[in-house]
Symmetry: C2
Subunit: 315 residues, 2 copies
Amino acid sequence: MSKAERLIEMMITINAKKDFTAGELADEFSVSKRTILRDLQELEQAGFPIYSEVGAAGGYHILKERILPPVAFSESEAKAIFFACQALQFYRDLPFEQETISVLKKFLNCLPLDVQNSITQIQNKIVFWIPDRHCDSPLLKSMFHIAINCHAATIRYSSTYSERTRTIIPVGLYAMNGLWYCPAYCTTAHQIRVFRVDRIKEIIEEKPCPKGNYPIPASIREYLEKTGPKNDCRIKIQLTDTGVKRCESESFLAGGLKTFSTGGGIIDMEINHASLEWVADYILPFGNNATVLEPAELTELMRQKIYELHQHYCK
Amino acid sequence: MSKAERLIEMMITINAKKDFTAGELADEFSVSKRTILRDLQELEQAGFPIYSEVGAAGGYHILKERILPPVAFSESEAKAIFFACQALQFYRDLPFEQETISVLKKFLNCLPLDVQNSITQIQNKIVFWIPDRHCDSPLLKSMFHIAINCHAATIRYSSTYSERTRTIIPVGLYAMNGLWYCPAYCTTAHQIRVFRVDRIKEIIEEKPCPKGNYPIPASIREYLEKTGPKNDCRIKIQLTDTGVKRCESESFLAGGLKTFSTGGGIIDMEINHASLEWVADYILPFGNNATVLEPAELTELMRQKIYELHQHYCK
DNA sequence: TAGAATAATGACAGAAGTTGTCACTATTCG
DNA sequence: CGAATAGTGACAACTTCTGTCATTATTCTA
């Protein structure tokens, strides 16, 4: 094994161990302790953040942030990294320090000039756009740590209708369409609810998760993909061609959408009863491009809304 | 300069040059040609993709993809890269090969075990969620190349109401909420329109951009942030508290939203006349939580819609 | 307090690796 | 054919690396 190889291997080993002695490494790499000491000195000079303590219980330790062994990326991988970072750049808040992402731009300077240009050119043409939300989520980082540590939190939450104090056990966080959401088991309502992080006004207390058996998914992905509330209400809505097109833009309803070769289509799906209100609001602007077939409750809801609108606008 | 340093420098130089001869490099690094030949052999054995041609006009060339010189990342930078890549993982289509992103996972294996675990743990708790759109954009990659090359394209496009053939000059592409959009100068309509990439049914022809002076923004970002259609219509909509909360979720209208300390608020902004229809549809479900103050045209539009609904649902 | 374990440094000789030179072959282009 | 190129082999000079030994200093533990 050449010296260069050994140095790289050493970086990996050191990062993995965090704490070690010169003697250990000497055994591991089958070289003398003296050589290891020289190597460590070299790594240190190259900026590798290790420090040492002499004495019987002494040894080497990693100082601050670990530096990972150098990785050689191919051109297209490098481009992909920039793409990915670009996808985050329009988020107002991220659950970790934004500087970390921007530091990655040092990477850009390592690339050959023509690649730099091609990346700039691509960034002129492609954007992962997120509508600007005008609302900050100052507690995002705190909620992130609570979720990671599987803690519970007592929060002051301002919902559409009221402001309340609740104790929640977060499942995790997800960003959608520029807003951050936190599905969490609410110990007040005894079920999983979704909280908008920008509407959490205050974290009153963070504490270890109280003991007990809560039906909380193991990962946020699992929550998003599989669970969610029970579907206990069947809806059938007939659509015209125009109605179908509009509906395709909405992921939730599009899931139950079937189109007819003769034109038009139908939404036929099971939904949560609590979503009925949302469905009514969603198809209201469809006008006569949508016709509610089932349930009668939905038709009634539509009529109520129309009546209310009629009163409000037509006096 | 040590051998190791020289090899790294050589990788950079080679990548920058793409074509070179052993003699050139020998001069550049002030070593003998023989040494360079030995170095090149070593790089080749390490997997560096170069090939050579003997003969008077011969030399070395880069084969396939360039491999960039190794970069050492810190732990938090590495985490950030994974975050960023995660932000892309729910896109059905990306304008470049998806494998590129997943290949990056080789990177994960280079990390110390505990970091791998912490990344996994974070990925269990954080997701950049994009609603599943049920509609593919098979022509995304083609549109990407057309946009990058500043070409024009003749497309068959299926809008909400009709299917037409148009010749467009793309400004670029943007992804929003899981769908890809292509703002482009339409040579049929003589203005910039936004096309949904999944609704482009066919690219009939790609050709160089026809000469002429088109009012096309230099970058997609510029388009999204600054331009957009002219605002020629003022709207004023009064909102209750509930109306304000609902409105805050919508970036476009939230831009013109002012809230009163006494409760409630008002949307007061200039919009494009063509957006009136959209505004009407948007605030229709607000019921009496929204009251249109201006313009009369909007009130009239609302009344029409309500009338239509009344006919449709209340017979 | 002595002893063991640790880091750190210096000197030096032998081992290992690197480099330049020279000689040579083979290929390609004009 | 001649010039320019890649590629290989041998070898000596040079450089770097490594192990050994000796030494100092620090810290913990028995």
